[in-house]
């Protein structure tokens, strides 16, 4: 009696296990399809970047997955020899680093003041900042171009540093104010008693305690500026100081049907962001969630 019950139970469990797997099969299939849609396009580009242009024109990237693959670095050698490519790669760094530093540091100053100091006009200033976060930067191009022309900054690195800082500051200030505002009040009170001045308080209390937010914002701004096309093409489109995104964008347009030579350039352009993303994924995700959930 007991034996048959147990046997019956065993059979039932096996059936249950199999039916559960079967029931879950559509789920796993759907997940795989979704993952494939999001991975395959990028994979295609990377594979093609290691093939010759005639190969790319003769057959799809997937043929290289089977022997003979015919992988080669020819595309990379060619793009590094193309006039303007290496310069624009260096320019991307020369634009991105100072633009990021300017934005994050100034936003941290302002975030501290908006969070922990009271002054006349504070609420009004801040509402303007919230409003500016969605104003299209295109609205400012004509006057700012005229300003750069009048001050002799047209086409210079300084011009794009300032422009990026101006456009990015509202959002950065908003994010850092909410983070710095959430720091415990007691810390600031004890500093007040110690008589530490505000500069000391800022560098020794606010900055160290805000490292998670500052790090997340720095990564975010860095990638935003590195990947920017619109601002760079507007202010540096005709300048030798143009960054990689502008170089690729202009080459695609001028090459017409011959754009395949740019595969390697695109891979180089996205290598740094992907590396940053894979290494610092946690900060990156936090930066996004902070911006959206609170914002």
């Amino acid at each position: 009696m007991a034996v048959t019950t147990q046997a019956r139970r065993g059979v039932a469990a096996a059936q249950l296990g199999r039916s559960r797997l079967l029931r879950k099969l559509p789920l796993h299939l759907t997940v795989s399809v979704v993952m494939a849609i999001w991975l395959v396009p990028t994979l295609g580009l990377i594979v093609n970047s290691f093939r010759t242009v005639p190969d790319m024109n003769a057959s799809g990237w997937w043929t290289a997955l089977f022997p003979p693959a015919g992988f080669t670095l020819a595309s990379y050698e060619q793009i590094f020899r193309t006039p303007g490519f290496v310069d624009s790669l260096v320019n991307s760094l020369l634009i991105t680093i100072p633009a990021t530093v300017l934005q994050v540091v100034i936003a941290t100053f302002a975030g501290y003041a908006f969070a922990w100091m009271s002054f006349r006009g504070r609420d009004l200033f801040f509402i303007v900042i919230v409003a500016l976060m969605v104003v299209p930067v295109q609205m400012t191009f004509i006057p700012v171009l005229k300003l750069f022309a009048a001050t002799g900054l047209a086409g210079t690195f300084i011009a794009v540093w300032l422009a990026h800082a101006g456009y990015g500051l509202p959002f950065q200030t908003y994010l850092l104010r909410s983070y710095i505002g959430s720091l415990p009040r007691e810390v600031f009170e004890s500093a007040e008693i110690d008589g530490a001045n505000h500069a000391v308080r800022f560098w020794q209390l606010v900055v160290p305690m805000s490292v998670p937010a500052i790090a997340a914002n720095t990564i975010f701004v860095f990638l935003g500026v590195w990947n920017d096309l619109l601002i760079a093409v507007t202010y540096l489109g005709q300048s030798p100081n143009r960054p990689l995104t502008v170089f690729i964008g202009q080459q695609v347009t001028s090459l017409g049907g011959n754009w395949q030579v740019l595969t390697a350039a695109a891979v180089v352009q996205m290598a740094l962001p992907l590396l940053v993303f894979l290494v610092l994924q946690r900060y990156f995700v936090r930066g996004i969630s902070a911006g959206a959930v609170k914002g």
């Binding site: 096309l229 347009t253 962001p273």
Partner: protein, 321 residues
């Protein structure tokens, strides 16, 4: 190369030194004036750089652009001519129509797919791996994403080997290859698809974080009461996620209105795929300032509802603090 070495030095040393020096000197000066005045002046020292940048690069230019929109390219007043042009010229009307397409469908697809994928991935054990895949396009620039998708949409004449991934798939299934980026029936959708592909990861990360905040007991209780999975999603999960979905929707509306990079790289606005932001860029580049400014003002008017909504929501949040 000399000049760029100078730039690199400025980049690495001078910019941070200036910023550090500004605050140190500001505080040094504040300590040398009477305490009462210093206390009142101090906040302005700290917010001045941010406010100055916002004023010089955003507030004043925006106001200036509104004035320019009532002038011709040489600066003579022309009344509403530039707006009449905007609403009668076929090029600008096409871009307006396409932006509406982007606004509705890009936003809807990102929100719906983001929600679908988050709920889907919430039910598997390898969630973080799956999420990384969908999230991967996010750090990729729109320029690189466009090159990626050029290989997806590549078209070769029928009978020749198809090198574009999509055409290879559909010809293998027995259909004729499609010139995705040229065919007027498909090209706008093809561009919107790229936008969706790059942005769904953003929606997914945020929705998925909100999803983790829903109590599992609540969902278990509903299951015990006999609710189907569909009912749970519709009656419990979606209502609870509403604030999150609203935030994503407004963010995506702004993204859709400003879309530029993908269209610039993929088609340069040709074949009826142009959008407002690219129209504006092209007119600025041609020094067609009056008309460009009018295009900008239309864009600004389009974001005003979102702007008002954000400010209202911000004020509510502040009252709750």
């Amino acid at each position: 190369m000399d000049q760029r070495i100078v730039t690199a030095v400025i980049a690495v040393i001078v910019v941070p030194a200036l910023l550090f020096g500004y605050i140190q000197i500001g505080e040094w000066a504040l300590e040398r004036i009477p305490r009462r005045i210093a206390a009142r002046m101090r906040p302005y020292v700290w917010v001045f750089p941010a406010v100055a940048f916002a004023t010089i690069f955003m507030v004043l230019p925006t106001i200036n652009t509104i004035f320019i929109s009532f002038q011709d390219a040489r600066g003579n007043p022309v009344g509403l001519d530039n707006y009449v042009f905007f609403f009668t010229n076929p090029e600008t009307l096409t871009s307006l129509k396409n932006n509406i397409l982007w606004l509705v469908f890009f936003t809807a697809f990102v929100v719906v797919l983001g929600l679908f994928i988050s709920i889907l991935f919430d039910r598997i054990k390898y969630e973080s791996v799956a999420k990384t895949a969908v999230f991967l396009p996010l750090p990729i620039s729109a320029v690189a994403a466009s090159i990626i998708w050029k290989f997806m949409y590549e078209y070769d004449a029928p009978g020749r080997p198809q090198t574009g991934t999509l055409n290879a798939v559909i010809t293998a299934a027995g259909f004729e290859p499609v010139a995705w980026l040229i065919n007027a029936l498909t090209n706008n959708w093809a561009l919107i698809a790229i936008g969706v592909w790059t942005s769904v990861g953003f929606a997914m990360v945020i929705i998925s974080a909100a999803l983790k905040g829903i109590s599992t007991e609540l969902l278990e209780a509903a299951r015990v009461d006999g609710a189907t999975e569909g009912q749970i999603v519709r009656r419990i999960i979606i209502p609870l996620l509403m604030p999150t979905l609203t935030v994503i929707t407004t963010t995506m509306i702004i993204t859709a209105l400003k879309v530029f990079d993908i269209v610039y790289v993929m088609t340069s606005g040709a074949y009826g795929t142009d959008v407002i932001a690219r129209q504006l860029f092209a007119r600025v580049a041609n020094s067609d300032y009056g008309r460009a400014a009018a295009v900008g003002v239309v864009l600004l008017l389009a974001v005003v509802p979102v702007l008002v909504f954000n400010v209202k929501r911000f004020r509510e949040q502040e009252e709750r603090r």
